[in-house]
């Protein structure tokens, strides 16, 4: 059966050395702690209401809730153990709740059933796995009392060094399919859009997902063609907040499936350790949210590195000693810090730097269609400047959108213009490439998030 293919031309594939090999290697050290980061869940207050502040806790036992979302939606412990630390940031906001892992995992029992949309909804809310969904517009945790107009799931990830999603669900096929059934139940007849890649081959486990309300589309083109925001924009636009869409990543369905099959929250997953500062880039099988030190031991080529939970475009920097991988991330990227001066580095190229600009050999090669992998670092490669170049953001944004004009509207806080230029249609990851390419080194994602929050606050 032929499915529609949506060809996207604009974008950029940032190719980095050190792709994780698709094999599971043993952990260099037994993980000692896991953490859940309330900051991963947008839409909740900086200080959620803790149900347990200390003592032992079982995996899946309610841990905190948010006043705005109501007590029905609880976030639960990612693993069993003892709550040892609540790390706070500025203004006492809770950044991490750290649990010292038990040797044997002990699971809190949830009553679940796949009978109806309502039972699925209840189980997801009580287990905290509800919060893995993201609502568009704004990129927030969906509200328990709302219903979307559609559900979107992207079946591939085009971010730099991102793992193949089929590999993430491999060995957990039964759980994944049970999770898929739960999603269909939850959709309750609403359309579920699945976005596949037309450039890569997919395995049957993904291709065989079916249902009356399931619509499949294929996308071709460079990153961000795998971003669900791009799919929504082309298939079911949320322009001006006309519709609500919920999104979820396929790998989370594995956890949903375990919840419905066994009644437990078991966040066992695969985490890829990637990029060229890693000795053996490969996958670990462990609990989501573990302390990153357990993954890194003996794996780093040098010490002066940045450890990123997630990918280099949208991930967050974590401390290699004390940090934890985000529960929502299935990869850790390690790249060198670029905090060294470069003699006349703005004109001389001391080493290959990835760029879309054809003033670099790398840009010329890219435009010729040659894929070359690069060693990257965290250097800003310049100084922040006012907007000068135009048309640059458009080159990497395969959407009917004017990203630079939207950013300017945000900067001048023009609410009408923000709405008209599509603030409902984008979240940080969709414009991350704009930030990467920006000649003026504008913090695009930061401005966008501040704009979204301002808009949400003013308009509601």
């Amino acid at each position: 059966m032929a499915y529609p293919v949506i060809k996207l031309k604009r974008g950029y594939d940032l190719l980095i050395e050190g792709e994780a090999e698709e094999k599971i290697i043993p952990l260099p050290e037994v993980p000692t702690t896991v953490a859940i980061k309330p900051t991963d869940f947008l839409g909740i207050r900086p200080i959620p209401k803790l149900l347990k502040k200390e003592g032992s806790i079982k995996a899946g036992e309610p841990l905190f809730y948010d006043k705005d979302y109501g007590e029905e939606l609880t976030w639960t412990a990612p693993a069993s153990g003892e709550i040892v630390e609540i790390r706070r940031g500025p203004k006492r906001r809770i950044e991490e709740i750290v649990i010292l892992l038990d040797k044997e995992q002990d699971y809190y029992e949830h009553e679940t059933s796949l009978d109806s949309a309502e039972t699925v909804r209840k189980a997801l809310l009580a287990s905290g796995l509800w919060a893995l969904m993201v609502q568009r517009p704004y990129g927030l945790v969906p509200r328990p009392d709302e219903k979307p107009d559609a559900i979107f799931m992207s079946m591939f990830d085009t971010h730099p060094l991102a793992p193949r999603l089929e590999f993430l669900v491999k060995d957990y096929e039964d759980d994944f399919l049970a999770g898929w059934e739960a999603l269909k139940k939850l959709a309750d007849g609403l359309p579920i859009f699945l976005g596949y890649s037309a450039d890569r081959s997919h395995e049957d486990i993904f291709l065989s997902l079916n249902g009356n309300n399931v619509r499949k589309y294929f996308f071709s083109g460079p990153h961000p063609s795998g971003n669900v925001g791009i799919h929504i924009h082309h298939l079911f636009p949320t322009y001006k907040g006309a519709r609500k869409v919920w999104t979820i990543k396929p790998q989370y369905l594995v956890w949903w499936g375990r919840l419905f099959r066994k009644g437990i929250v078991d966040l066992t997953t695969k985490i890829a350790l990637t990029a060229h500062e890693v000795k053996e880039p490969a996958f670990y099988e462990t609990i989501a949210g573990v302390n990153v030190k357990a993954l890194l031991k003996g794996q780093l080529k040098n010490d002066h590195v940045r450890v990123i939970s997630g990918n280099v475009l949208t991930g967050t920097k974590i401390d290699p000693e004390k940090g934890h991988v985000s529960i929502k991330d299935n990869m850790v990227t390690v790249i060198p810090e670029g905090d060294f001066p470069e003699f006349h580095g703005w004109i001389l190229t001391h080493y290959p730097k990835p760029s879309i600009s054809r003033t670099f050999l790398s840009g010329v090669l890219y435009h010729l269609g040659l894929s070359v992998k690069y060693k990257v670092n965290t250097k800003l490669h310049g100084e922040p400047r006012p907007f000068v170049v135009t048309g640059e953001y458009e080159q990497v944004t395969p959407m009917d959108l004017y990203p630079q004009h939207l950013l300017k509207a945000i900067i001048v806080k023009d609410l009408d213009l923000m709405e008209q230029l599509g603030i409902h249609e984008v979240v940080e990851e969709d414009l991350a490439l704009c930030e990467f390419v920006c000649t003026s080194k504008t913090p695009v994602q930061k401005i966008l998030r501040e704009g979204i929050e301002f808009f949400r606050h003013e308009v509601g």
Binding site: I6, K7, R10, I16, D149, R215, L235, F236, P237, Y239, K240, A242, G315, T316, K317, G338, D339, P341, F343, H344, G345, W346, I347, T349, K353, S357, R358, T359, F360, G363, V376, T378, K379, L380, H381, E383, R385, P386, V388, V389, T390, G391, E394, T397, P398, D400, Y402, H405, Q420, L421, G422, E435, F436, V437, C438, T439, S440, P443, K446, R449
Partner: protein, 422 residues
Amino acid sequence: MMKRLTDSLWNFLQTKVKPHFTKGGKFENLYYLYEAIETFLFLPPEVTHDKPGTHVRDGMNLKRLMIHVVFALIPPMLFGIWNIGHQHFLAIGEYTGLTEGFIDKFIVGIKVFLPILIVIMAVGGTIEVLFAIIRKHPVTEGFLVTGPLIALIVPPTIPLWMVAVATAFAVTFGKEIFGGTGMNIVNTALLARAFLFFAYPAHMSGDQVWIYLGEAADKLVDGFSGATPLAIAAEGGYQALKSFSYQSYGFWDMFFGWIPGSIGETSTLAILLGAGLLLHTGVADWRIMASMLLGGIFTALLFNAFPANDYMALPWYYHLVMGGFAFGLVYMATDPVTSASTFTGKWVYGFLIGVVALIIRVLNPAYPEGVMLAILLGNVSAPLIDHLVIKSYISRRERQVSTITTASQTTEQKTVKEASHA
């Protein structure tokens, strides 16, 4: 070896020099002057730090962008220097052949051009740094390009004090009062030229200013004329251009550029070389170049079709190699700050400039050349053009939403297009 040298230079700057310029140091007010020098010598070690934000950035930056425009200016600059000398010796009947006296011609050209460039860079640079220090912002790279541009669009005989005044005016009132690089409405270099043009018209137009004579003013050959092809065409059209006796003003002469004119504008070939670099690197937008070219050709063809006077009958391709059309098209109209910012807008903007440039050039008897005024007009129209493009985008998207809400449950979309402003 090189690495050790640069490392010790860096350490010297950081430990011995920088402390004087940071807070509490002797020259703390001059911090941004120091910063400008440091960032010129070294790409700073600053790393990505925004949250949320990308951890890796493209190697591109504004300095690199600007220096590529400067590279692209080298062919017209070198040719212009030679041509100053060539026109000089032609006027006194020495080295009349193109290949003769290359070195002498070049030396004369350098003697004329270098002072102009130095004055501009000194005046403009000083003002930039002053503003940076007073307003406490980094020295931006804009003037790196603006300076050479001003030098290339003035006649070789321009008095240095005039260039200084014009540069000071343009940098201050054209750019800095708007907030500096990236904030200006009109192209700074063109504003400097416009200032000269209206303040000192005798030194910017006519037959006397385009050829540097210097000491040789009394040794001129018989039949000498300093008239540019534009002036001759404006008076007598195609016929006058063909029968001009002092030197040959054929199409190829103008294409190669051994004709009098502003320093950098005469050689279309040299400008094409620069355009090649700008287009290859993607530093200048091809849409603006293409649309201005189309606008110019379209208008010239229209004149050819209804030749009410001799000038209008001038073959269309002559207009592309005469005067400042090519230079304005490649280096001036494409300035990203002052041109339209939307793709559609760029097409409209470029086309508008092409049309207006030719209208002023051919139909307006007061100004022999229209490119400068056309681009300035384009600059001030660019925000309006963008506004209209954005407005039409918004109404198109709003129609899309209204069809969504009327057909609420029909989610299938038959046609899916990539952004239509591609």
